[in-house]
């Protein structure tokens, strides 16, 4: 991955698109401080990541106060039910009271349509349900920058438009969102800007509404 430069202001939703292997996930993981970079810089809300290893300790936690991530596979904690997956970080990272955390978690789970599955364990959830719990888990932390890798992969069309609306609403509240997706309809429905990657480079860039006529 070389020569990749882009920026996103507050309240902007950027969609990274491109074929499999084009580097979308790597970009997101590098931004989340999970993948080391060999050269260049990534600056997120004042925190700068450069080459020379992954951020550690307090610096990493500082970064993760600002960046949340939803992975392509949900990666829910297998030994906890959906509710506890969402409340765990609220209680142990943000130090919220258990009751406060639970009410926030239930609100998010309800909003994402999985409120009834609050006490199901990850292996009991369908792919789509698990994905929505994972989204709720990331949203609960209210990170200024939210990264999402293929968020629609396990969702049916109705859920996709609901998620698009949710993300639009979050962006309008000033949150920056970067998604990696194959789903052009979804990108068209929610992105402010689309970057098309291929072979580790940005090959096209522009708004998703077709006004440039080149992006899709």
């Amino acid at each position: 991955m070389t020569g990749l430069t882009f920026s996103a202001d507050r309240g902007i939703l950027v969609a990274l698109m491109g074929p499999s292997g084009s580097g979308k996930t790597t970009v997101l993981r590098a931004m989340a401080g999970l993948e080391p970079i060999d050269a260049g810089t990534i600056e997120i809300d004042g925190i700068v990541l450069t080459h020379g290893g992954l951020p550690r300790g307090a610096r990493r936690r500082e970064l993760h106060r600002r960046v949340g991530m939803v992975f392509q596979f949900h990666h829910l904690f297998a030994h906890m039910d959906a509710l506890r997956n969402v409340t765990l970080a609220l209680v142990h990272v943000l130090h919220q009271a258990q009751s406060e955390a639970e009410s926030r978690a239930r609100q998010l789970l309800n909003a994402l349509g999985v409120g009834a599955r609050a006490h199901a364990f990850p292996h009991e959830l369908s792919g789509g349900e698990a994905q929505r719990v994972a989204i709720a888990r990331a949203l609960a932390m209210e990170p200024p920058l939210l990264l999402m890798d293929e968020p629609t992969a396990s969702l049916d069309p109705a859920r996709r438009s609901e998620l698009a609306a949710t993300l639009r609403a979050l962006a309008s509240q000033g949150r920056t969102i970067v998604i990696a997706t194959h789903d052009t309809d979804f990108a068209r429905a929610c992105a402010d800007r689309v970057l098309v990657l291929d072979g580790g480079r940005i090959v096209r860039e522009g708004p998703p509404d077709g006004s440039t006529g080149k992006v899709f």
Partner: protein, 516 residues
């Protein structure tokens, strides 16, 4: 006669519950032993170590009162103690570890049919001989004419006890007569295997040979002895003055007939002894009194069932030692295992390498060796009580295995979950305690249960450092009644009673988690 090989020889006689409890106390405080005859008063003790598994006529639990030991060595110890104005106290010690234990200071004197030999004189203070024995060849009755000496046994298998005078003789005969020595750890199986045809002769001292022939119809002892040896007492090298006083007491007892009384009582008196005593007394044969003592009548004959009833409490207390030792060792292994595994997953390279070396060294060497090193090897630096050495040996050994289970369980938790936890802002420590550890524990539970059951059984190895646990107590019991059948069934039943509930509990917990 008998001496060390790496494993304990199966030659102790049964000790009953009281003895067990008392020895238990002795292991906790090895400088104390228990009185042979009770009522220590203010008299100083003479602590003497022997192996009751050797059985009669050396040292064995009294069939009429298994809390007492009887045997000619017990009486010689009493004679020496009386001469010194002390009270004899018996310390049960595995036969193979008697030499090391006396050096260690576990007791003052080792006395258990111990053979004289140059190696012992080099390292220990050795008393004058108090009994002369002959090395006797035992064969099947039908081979009486065929196998008269070692030269007749060319190309054949001849059994004996490891590390004895007889074993040395057989090793020498191996090159001279091309015979195959078969070394046993006890003196019961050479004779039963001779009867079964697994070996063609047994070479052992006459005391054991006579007992072997008595117990196995169809065997005979050849008349012509192949060598002569002596039983002696052993003291630590720095105890030479005490040894000299003991020599005087023995000489006096040879002169006034007290030793003769003892050996006549055990039907071991023969013409070799007056000659030995005369030599030791400077050829003054007239100093030896003539005494006449009728041999001890055969002890009260009890059925195996009656003996089992008598031994049962001692098996129960031995099982208690097995349980306590296993639980404490496992607790140590789990704590150490978690620390080692965490270090191997999270620590910096130098510590990781050090921990890897520890795990590989511990897993790559026998537990038995580790126990010996802990108990005897380190004795000069730190003299650990036997039970503590047993606990450390088992615990530190199993910690290496546990750490490997925990390490692989930690590594089996999906990386994606750890990344997800990181992006939620958890510290690495929180991830270990909230996400990784709990899942790893569930993965580790089944192999941990297996290990605990294995440890329960491996705890039998600690008998080499003088801890009498369930298996050892059973072998003492078996050697004394001359059968493994009933003791073996009882012992197996006790182990199963300990391990089956554990396996069941683990299955239940696992099922519960699977439902989650």
């Amino acid at each position: 006669m008998r001496t060390p090989s790496l494993q304990v020889l199966g030659r102790r006689s049964g000790l009953a519950s009281r003895l067990m409890l008392m020895t238990w106390v002795c292991w906790l405080a090895p400088t104390h032993a228990f009185a042979q005859g009770g009522g220590a008063g203010s008299l100083q003790e003479l602590r003497w170590g022997g192996d009751a598994e050797g059985g009669a006529p050396f040292v064995e639990a009294d069939p009429n009162d298994p809390s007492r030991v009887v045997g000619f060595d017990v009486e010689v110890a009493r004679l020496l103690a009386e001469g010194l104005g002390r009270v004899p106290r018996f310390v049960q010690t595995g036969f193979t570890t008697l030499d090391a234990a006396v050096v260690r200071g576990d007791f003052d004197l080792a006395l258990s049919g111990i053979e004289d030999g140059p190696a012992r004189h080099a390292r220990l203070s050795v008393t004058i001989p108090y009994y002369e024995f002959r090395e006797i060849l035992t064969v099947r009755e039908r081979d009486r004419a065929r196998f008269r000496g070692l030269a007749d046994l060319r190309g054949r298998r001849v059994a004996t006890l490891g590390a004895t005078l007889a074993a040395d003789m057989l090793t020498e005969a191996q090159s001279r007569y091309d015979i195959m020595p078969v070394l046993y750890e006890d003196d019961v199986h050479p004779y039963s295997d001779l009867l079964l045809g697994r070996v063609d002769a047994v070479l052992l001292d006459q005391v054991l040979a006579e007992r072997g022939v008595r117990r196995n119809a169809g065997l005979i002892n050849q008349d012509e002895p192949l060598a002569v040896g002596h039983y002696v007492g052993l003291l630590a090298q720095e105890q030479a003055p005490l040894r000299d006083r003991m020599n005087e007491i023995l000489l006096a007892a040879m002169g006034d007939g007290r030793l003769e009384i003892i050996f006549r009582r055990w039907s071991l008196w023969n013409d070799d002894q007056p000659r030995l005593y005369a030599r030791l007394l400077g050829g003054r044969a007239d100093n030896i009194a003539t005494v006449s003592v009728s041999p001890l009548g055969s002890p009260e004959t009890l059925s195996n069932w009656a003996l089992t009833v008598r031994y049962f409490p001692s098996l129960l207390s031995a099982a208690l030692i097995t349980i306590v030792l296993s639980c404490l060792s496992m607790a140590l292994a789990v704590v150490m295992g978690i620390l080692i595994a965490s270090g191997r997953v999270y620590a910096a390279a130098p510590l990781r390498i050090a921990l890897t070396v520890y795990v590989e060294v511990v897993r790559g060497t026998p537990l038995l060796l580790q126990l010996f090193v802990l108990y005897f090897g380190l004795a000069a630096v730190v003299s650990l009580p036997a039970l503590v050495a047993a606990l450390l040996g088992l615990g530190l050994n199993y910690a290496a295995y546990e750490s490997e289970i925990y390490r692989s369980a930690l590594e089996a938790v999906p990386r994606g979950e750890l990344d997800a936890a990181r992006t939620l802002g958890f510290s690495e420590r929180q991830i270990l305690f909230l996400v990784r550890g709990p899942q790893a524990f569930r993965l580790a539970l089944a192999p941990m249960t297996n290990d605990f059951v294995a440890l329960l059984k491996d705890s039998s190895l600690v008998s080499v450092i003088t801890v009498v646990e369930l298996t050892k107590q059973t072998s003492i019991f078996a050697a004394n009644i001359g059968s493994w059948l009933l003791p073996g069934i009882l012992c197996a039943g006790m182990y199963l009673a300990l391990s089956l509930p554990l396996a069941r509990l683990a299955r239940r917990i696992e099922r519960g988690w699977r439902r989650e």
